[in-house]
């Protein structure tokens, strides 16, 4: 049976990864009709929502799992996968369990998580530090300390691209690293505005101010241009998710030798477990509904998971697979994962609305040196207070 699957994985590596899904699905005698649309949020989402509300749903669709799909579930547009999940025993195999929680609404499972992406990485250019004559830092504090030397050498210490999500992401990473997992959860999970306005967070904002100072002169927009600054040694480091690795690999750089990756900024080795999930709209066609079930289980099959995640550069959602082929940094991530040092991603914890407000705040903060950390914290607390 033909099943149309929409997703926003279109770059080289991503496409190759999706191809693994398709291959596996086609092998079950069905057919994967690809509906790739690049550009997550603003581009792909209205399309998916329109298709759903327009009465012409696709067979399956990628969505950031988490709060974003809740409403679609409530509107009865998405299909309950509990049957498949119980049959395949997802509760057991999916690690960390929080991933499945994000798919659960009122005790029913509505999505199939397929990978884990983590944000908490500091990528450092070994060459840049060499030029500046300082050793490659082992953690955030060393990094901040090394900043003046880098600057003197004409190197931007920290590259932060101009897009809003990069600044907000970097802040979250700083927060986990400096204030710790508990504060993180208090603020984002419990929406505790007092904590958000409290002294722990003040420290984070101070660090963010450092980061802001260190990022002056980045002058690029795209994250990968920022990464490229690290690759070419024009910048000392960048806070970016694990996907940045692809850029280093493509430039022929070797982890450990040319660049260094510090999960959790080398301070608090905790990684978030954001990621992608597939949702399945309610279809009238019996056949297709059957095919949806097949697809759901295919996505989580161990072989598919390995093949997919290796190509995608992300971590698999099940702990029981063997990732011997993973590289250095990825292995570090797997380790942390195995230790259970995980937090949920802000995607899962906050509504997109609050996320956006947060992004607006931090992009402004990072770009505007006249904005004091105190002001920013005040506004941050307000956002947390009104978050739902």
């Amino acid at each position: 049976t033909d099943l149309e699957v929409t997703h926003w994985w279109t770059s080289g590596g991503e496409a190759a990864a999706v191809a693994e899904f398709a291959k596996a699905f086609d092998a079950t005698g069905n057919k994967w009709i690809d509906g790739a649309i690049a550009g997550a949020g603003s581009t792909a989402r209205p399309i998916m929502v329109s298709r759903l509300t327009g009465g012409d749903p696709m067979g399956a669709t990628q969505f950031n799992h988490g709060r974003q799909a809740e409403e679609l579930v409530e509107a009865g547009l998405l299909r309950d996968l509990t049957d498949v999940a119980t049959r395949e025993n997802w509760k057991e195999i999916i690690k960390p369990a929080s991933l499945l929680d994000s798919c659960t609404v009122d005790g029913k499972i509505y999505c199939a998580p397929v990978n884990i992406h983590s944000w908490q990485w500091l990528w450092l250019s070994n060459a840049a530090f060499e030029t500046a004559g300082v050793p490659v830092p082992k953690n955030w504090d060393e990094f901040v300390a090394a900043a003046p030397a880098l600057e003197k050498a004409g190197i931007v210490p920290l590259a932060v691209g101009g897009q809003a999500w990069q600044a907000a992401g970097a802040f979250d990473v700083l927060m986990v690293a400096i204030a710790g997992k508990d504060t993180f959860n208090k603020v984002f999970k419990d929406k505790d505005a007092d904590v958000a306005a409290g002294p722990d967070m003040a420290r984070v904002f101070k660090a963010a101010e450092d980061a802001r100072r260190m990022s002056r002169g980045t002058n690029v927009q795209d994250w990968n241009q920022a990464t490229n600054m690290v690759i070419t040694g024009k910048a000392g480091g960048q806070i970016m998710g694990d996907w940045a690795q692809g850029e280093f690999a493509l430039a022929g750089k070797v982890a450990g030798k040319d660049y260094t990756c510090l999960p959790g900024l080398g301070v608090n080795e905790v990684i978030s477990t954001g990621g992608d999930a597939f949702y399945f709209p309610v279809l009238a066609d019996e056949e297709k509904s059957k095919a949806q079930e097949v697809l759901a289980s295919t996505l989580l099959a161990p072989a598919t998971q390995v093949a997919f995640n290796l190509k995608k550069g992300s971590l698999p959602v099940r702990g029981d697979v063997d990732l011997a082929a993973a590289n250095d940094c990825m292995k570090k991530g797997l380790d942390i994962l195995a230790k259970g040092n995980v937090i949920e991603g802000t995607d899962q914890l906050l509504s997109a609305d609050s996320q956006k407000q947060k992004e607006d705040l931090f992009s402004e903060f990072f770009a505007n040196p006249s904005m004091t950390p105190e002001d920013a914290q005040k506004r941050f607390a307000a956002i947390i207070a009104s978050a739902d």
Binding site: W32, I33, G35, A38, G39, T53, T232, W243
Partner: protein, 309 residues
């Protein structure tokens, strides 16, 4: 620019040397020409600079691009990005580049352009020459409509199309393009038609022509330049449209811009600037050709000789 008028040489010399005689010769380097072409060339430079960067980049390999000198010509010219953009860039699973959506784009653009221009020009004509009570109220709404961001209207339109049962069809998409083209195009045509001498319209009515005949045989032939402009607007808009093309159709008829978007807009993947540039240039080629070819329709003095007074 050697269009100096060739005088019958003997006559010219026979007649008192440098004395002005006959038509004024056009000297290529007159002050006026220097000013004129100078300004045009300077302006052209500003317009061409980004194009230059795009072409140069599209001919470089990625390593060279990472070096970061955007103005330097490619050390080693490679057409691979072009080939890749056209034929092998991947859109999800389908690695056949822009070529995949090309015909879909044509299939979408041709009817959408034609129908939207047709509907709007007839409308503009009705508003300019066959006014009826209340027409202006609708028109005002339409003009205000020109200022509504498209995206805001997506959900209402999805609902309307769903109710009409044409959501997801090509017909639906053509209707959407017609709807969003309507405010600007109607205004364009209405204002143009109302600037044509009213006497012609009167004369045609006396000649017994009705609404449609006047439109087809009098107004239309006199409005070539504005039809060109409308075509430029619509072909460009529809050819480059991405949002409606995906929101209102299904993957099998996705236009080329979906591929372009996918090549260019990957969020987390690796960016291949050279392929991006090549893809953009390739996608822009069709409107560009239309611009160039339609140029001769920009005729001068279209209503010359029509009326006295």
């Amino acid at each position: 620019m050697s269009d100096s008028v060739t005088l019958p040489a003997p006559a010219a010399t026979a007649r008192a040397g440098a004395e002005p005689w006959g038509a004024k010769p056009r000297r290529a380097l007159s002050g006026r020409n220097i000013m004129l072409y100078g300004t045009l060339l300077v302006a052209a430079l500003y317009y061409l600079l980004p194009l230059y960067v795009m072409i140069v980049t599209s001919l470089k390999g990625m390593p060279e691009i990472r070096l970061g000198n955007i103005f330097s010509p490619p050390l080693e010219i490679t057409f691979e990005p072009w080939a890749k953009a056209w034929a092998s860039a991947c859109t999800g699973l389908n690695c056949d580049g822009l070529s995949r959506g090309f015909w879909n784009s044509v299939r979408i653009t041709v009817p959408s352009t034609l129908i939207s221009i047709l509907v709007a020009s007839v409308n503009g004509y009705a508003l300019a020459n066959w006014k009826f009570r209340g027409a202006d109220i609708f028109f005002t709404i339409l003009i205000v409509g020109a200022f509504i961001p498209y995206q805001v209207m997506i959900y209402p339109i999805v609902i309307v199309l769903r109710e009409m049962g044409i959501y997801g069809t090509l017909t639906g998409l053509v209707i959407v393009h017609t709807i969003f083209g309507m405010p600007i195009l109607t205004l364009l045509f209405r204002n143009y038609f109302s600037a044509l001498p009213e006497e012609l319209f009167k004369a045609a009515r006396i000649d017994g022509a009705g609404f449609w005949q006047i439109y087809l045989r009098i107004m239309l032939p006199m409005s070539l330049p504005i039809f060109v402009v409308a075509m430029i607007l619509q072909i460009t808009g529809i050819w480059n449209d991405f949002l409606f093309g995906v929101v209102f159709t299904r993957p099998e008829v996705y236009p080329m811009t979906v591929q372009l978007n996918n090549i260019v807009n990957s969020v987390q993947g690796v960016k291949e600037y050279n392929v991006n540039m090549a893809a953009t240039l390739l996608t822009g080629a069709v409107p560009l050709i239309v611009y160039f070819v339609s140029g001769r329709l920009f005729v001068r003095g279209i209503a010359a000789g029509a009326v006295k007074g």
